[in-house]
């Protein structure tokens, strides 16, 4: 059936698809050319090399072309394209169009390919004699990445998933039989509200630069083994490995900052498989960096260095298989669903795993593995031990995260641990103890041989000192209530900070080149301290002790009651604070709930007062989506989020300003009449009401007062929970008929009417309608305090600085050698 569709813009998509095919073809061409350039024995023949370069440049241009076409499509709201329809909408501001660009799998593959293109060009420029073999590997990876975007049918199965697929090709609906279908598709699905956060603009590019740069040390290792330049590859690879570790680490922490600021699971790290997937290769490459340095300085640990470097990149690919293939299924909240690329992703992992394994096996006998044992009191031995422990901690993450994979392979049905967070925490803490203690103790060791007595004196001295400080910190922060292993981590981290602090002090005295590692280690120690205290002693401030009695058994359940309900304008004591839900402010599509926090001193004076505005938005695609708001102090954070808000509050917020005169008595308790004289006070459940005066000249909107008409207003002052409101219900006689106009005070849950005037007693009948509690606006919120979380963030910054210093140092060494 051929239908001439109206209004479609097919050119950008066709152009984009052309670039995808070109990117795939040119990368393949480049990989093959570089391969022959490497194996060519005629050193004077540079034709293969030039062809390889041309292929790579062409690939880089095509990758940019793909990006430009896709951006144009999203930016111009061309909803005939599935990608734009799925991930964007007209109301999205430009900076979030950037995040919607990489919300989908295709966009994030593009991002990866883009960074790999950039890195490849840097290597063409800088790698000199390494260019041919290294670029062979990178062009091969670029080929596989481009194939993920192909989206073409070959032998009846679709290879890859193209971002330029049209909406009418992506799904079936009767509407697509209409030529003018596009005129009915007014808007796209929009970006997931949780991703509408500035971290989502910069976190994915950083993370994918990290992933992409993991290939460079891998490519050097492959090149070294392939070209039998066993010893030489290590030196240049160290700088690139440091860079990859630095960027990936930054990306991971940015992700946790995003989670902390806009998700409401109440923390920054949940050991979700998606988080683990990014951490797994980071751990092995950190280990690899250390053993590479060992090898460079002493000639030991060659096999471990090579193995860890190779496995790191294979794990990057394995991690992307885990998160993108849909295999995680129910075990992860935010892994992607299967785009039909399961086996494609498997092939990607297997290709590089086979390359790595083959080279390791066939070159094993020729590897420069030292026959001599490391000395027990040498730096190299303990750095080696530390790296192996990093690899073991990675192994634990891989084994547990991969439970669905084991199920798929062995046809079992094991469920993930019912409390994975505790399991990971305890295991990873065990490894962290060893690793942090080693980052400290090895600083007192020298390469090859160390004076044993001096080593023991300084190690023990610092350890005692660290133990004292740890004791104080553990006591003051309450960490001692946790499992013993966490106290040991604290000891290890403090020890590492102290010892590396000393190294840093020495560095300033002249051994400046040691500064990088010292600073990075201090940063890592601080991260551990911050994570331990903030996660270990975070406490739910909104512990709820009220609530109906659902039976004694229920109360004994291990679940703590973490949510607190607040009626509007009714202050409630929460921990040290008095909190009040004071109002709403709406900035579509976000509904902000203003929660007032007061800290009172012993005499009831306000020591501190601030307002937090956690928000929720009602999203057609996802339902109610809430984001927290956090009060940051230097030494702790107070985090607040809405767990639930009744929809009528949200809707009431939406029609603010519309005064509806409908009969809503059903929303109130039976009215209570009071006869009042001016100056009288009546009590009601939440406070009292005073009739201050009568207004003989009352006006009601849109109703003119003429001739014999009378309009009387009662000026009422209502005091509810210490807050004062004014209301003026009006009594009117117009053309002989009697009307009265009620006034509502929604925040106090009141409706007031002036129903009768009793001239003989000079009294007035005021009808008080009181809203039953369930009908009054309320929110349910949860508040958590995170002590010393700033150690975590500042530790990260310090660690990054340390990595930068190390990169500069290693680059300088490269030039001098």
């Amino acid at each position: 059936m051929n239908i001439a569709y109206q209004g479609e813009h097919l050119l950008p998509g066709q152009l984009g698809q052309f670039f995808i095919v070109l990117a795939f073809g040119s990368a393949l061409f480049s990989a093959i050319s570089y391969y022959f350039a490497t194996t060519n024995t005629n050193k004077l023949d540079t034709s293969w090399l030039y062809m390889g370069r041309i292929g790579y440049f062409l690939n880089s241009i095509s990758v940019i072309g793909i990006g430009a076409c896709l951006f144009y499509i999203i930016y111009s709201n061309l909803f005939e394209y599935h990608y734009a329809w799925e991930h964007s909408s007209r109301t999205l501001p430009v900076y979030y169009i950037i995040s919607s660009f990489w919300e989908g799998q295709e966009g994030s593959f593009w991002l990866w390919g883009f960074w790999q293109a950039v890195l490849g060009n840097i290597l063409i420029w800088r790698a000199k004699s390494w260019e041919k073999p290294v670029l062979t590997v990178i062009a091969l990876s670029q080929t596989l990445l481009a194939s993920m975007l192909l989206g073409v049918e070959i032998f009846g199965s679709r290879i890859g998933s193209s971002p330029f697929i049209l909406l009418r090709q992506a799904m079936e609906a009767p509407i697509f039989s209409r030529p003018e279908y596009l005129s009915y598709i007014k808007d796209g699905n929009g970006l997931n509200p949780l991703l509408q956060n500035y971290w989502m603009v910069i976190h994915p590019p950083t993370l994918f630069l990290g992933f992409a740069s993991m290939i460079v040390p891998f490519a050097y290792a492959v090149a070294g083994l392939w070209q039998k330049r066993y010893k030489e590859w290590v030196q240049p690879a160290i700088s690139y490995a440091l860079f990859a570790v630095m960027v990936l680490g930054t990306g991971v922490i940015m992700g946790s900052l995003w989670a902390y600021e806009s998700l409401n699971f109440g923390g920054y790290w949940a050991w979700d498989p998606v988080e683990n997937a990014a951490l797994i290769p980071w751990l092995t490459l950190i280990g690899a960096v250390h053993v590479m340095i060992v090898y460079k300085n002493t000639g030991h640990a060659y096999f471990t260095a090579t193995f860890l470097t190779l496995i790191s990149f294979v794990l990057v690919l394995y991690a992307s298989f885990l998160t993108r293939s849909g295999i995680l299924g129910e075990t992860s909240v935010h892994a992607f669903t299967d785009l039909g690329m399961f086996w494609h992703l498997v092939v990607d992992v297997v290709v590089f795993a086979i390359i790595a394994a083959t080279l390791l096996i066939i070159r094993f006998k020729e590897m420069p593995i030292s026959k001599k044992e490391e000395d027990t009191y040498s730096r190299e031995f303990w750095m080696f031990v530390g790296s192996v422990f990093l690899a073991l901690s990675c192994l634990q993450l891989v084994v547990v995260t991969s439970i669905p994979v084991w199920n798929a392979i062995f046809k079992t049905s094991i469920a993930p641990p019912s409390n994975p967070v505790t399991l990971y925490n305890v295991f990873q803490a065990g490894f962290a103890v060893v690793v942090t203690l080693l980052t400290g103790a090895t600083q007192f060791l020298k390469y090859k041989k160390t004076d044993i007595t001096r080593f023991f004196i300084s190690t023990v001295l610092y350890l005692v000192f660290a133990a004292i400080i740890t004791g104080v910190i553990v006591y003051l922060t309450g960490v001692y209530k946790l499992k013993f292993v966490f106290i040991l981590v604290m000891l290890g981290a403090i020890y590492s900070i102290l010892v590396n602090g000393k190294v840093l002090a020495d560095a300033f005295k002249g051994k400046i080149k040691l500064a990088g590692s010292a600073v990075a280690h201090i940063g890592f120690g601080l991260i551990m301290v911050g994570a331990l205290i903030s996660a270990g002693t975070s406490n739910v401030v909104s512990q709820n002790t009220s609530g109906m009695d659902y039976g004694a058994d229920f109360d004994k359940a291990n679940n703590s009651r973490e949510n607190l309900m607040l009626y509007k304008n009714v202050p409630i004591k929460m921990g040290d604070y008095t909190v009040t839900y004071v109002g709403d402010s709406i900035s579509a599509p976000n509904h902000y709930f203003k929660v007032d926090y007061k800290l009172l001193d012993g005499n009831g004076n306000i020591k501190e007062e601030f307002i937090l505005k956690p928000n929720s938005q009602y999203n057609n695609k996802m339902g109610l989506v809430s984001s927290p708001d956090t009060k940051h102090y230097l030494f702790h954070d107070l985090y607040t989020h809405i767990s639930m808000a009744p929809l009528n509050v949200m809707q009431a917020g939406m029609d603010l300003g519309h005064d509806q005169e409908t009969n809503d008595d059903a929303n109130y308790n039976a009215p209570v009449p009071h006869d009042m004289a001016v100056g009288d006070t009546i009590q009601y459940r939440d406070g009292y009401i005073i009739l201050e005066k009568l207004n003989k000249d009352a006006h009601v909107q849109n109703i003119p007062i003429t001739g014999n008409d009378v309009a009387v207003g009662a000026d009422l002052k209502v005091v509810s929970h210490g807050i004062t409101y004014q209301a003026e219900p009006v009594y009117m006689v117009k053309n002989g008929s009697v009307f009265d106009f009620a006034r509502k005070i929604d925040d106090a849950g009141l409706k007031l009417r002036l129903t009768k005037i009793i001239p003989e007693k000079n009294k007035f009948e005021i009808m008080v309608y009181d809203q039953p509690e369930g009908k009054r606006p309320y929110i349910v919120m949860r508040a958590i305090s995170f002590p010393f979380i700033n150690f975590l963030w500042s530790g990260t910054v310090i660690m990054i600085i340390g990595f930068l210093l190390s990169i500069f140092r290693r680059n300088k060494e490269l030039k001098t050698v």
Partner: protein
């Protein structure tokens, strides 16, 4: 024995310990029947029974949520969860519970739902269909 071999043995021992611990701590998927006879925590996959009452009333208790779920072989139990009703609960059908039985009620410590944005993929919400009728 050489130092490196000792260290190698330690490494292998830790690796084996990791695998055993993983297997030991791993939970199992089961049914409500299994939960009746089992005191440990279980994963149960099932469907929410939307015919029966789903209780969450913040004004009575902000931390009590209960509903009925039917497991894969058709047993149905009341499920109680200490906390608020998850935001996307109404849009979900299939869920995974983690928890244990307590006097005929299943006390869930976690309710796992797939992110609805990715779960209910590609529902074209086009107003054209209603318009078509009037054309």
């Amino acid at each position: 024995m050489k130092k490196s071999s000792i260290f190698g043995i330690i490494t292998i021992a830790v690796a084996i310990a990791i695998i055993i611990c993983t297997y030991g701590s791993a939970s199992t998927y089961g049914t409500f029947k299994d939960a009746d006879s089992n005191s440990g925590e279980l994963h149960i996959i099932g469907h929410i029974d939307k015919q029966k009452e789903i209780v969450y009333d913040a004004t009575k208790d902000a931390n009590y949520f209960s509903f009925y779920m039917r497991d894969t072989i058709g047993n149905e139990r009341k499920v109680v969860y200490t906390g608020t009703k998850p935001e996307d609960f109404d849009r979900t059908d299939k869920i995974v519970l983690v928890g244990q039985m307590n006097k005929g009620e299943f006390h869930a410590s976690h309710i796992l739902m797939k992110c609805p944005s990715k779960y209910t993929q590609d529902k074209l919400d086009v107003k054209a269909d209603t318009k078509k009728a009037s054309i």
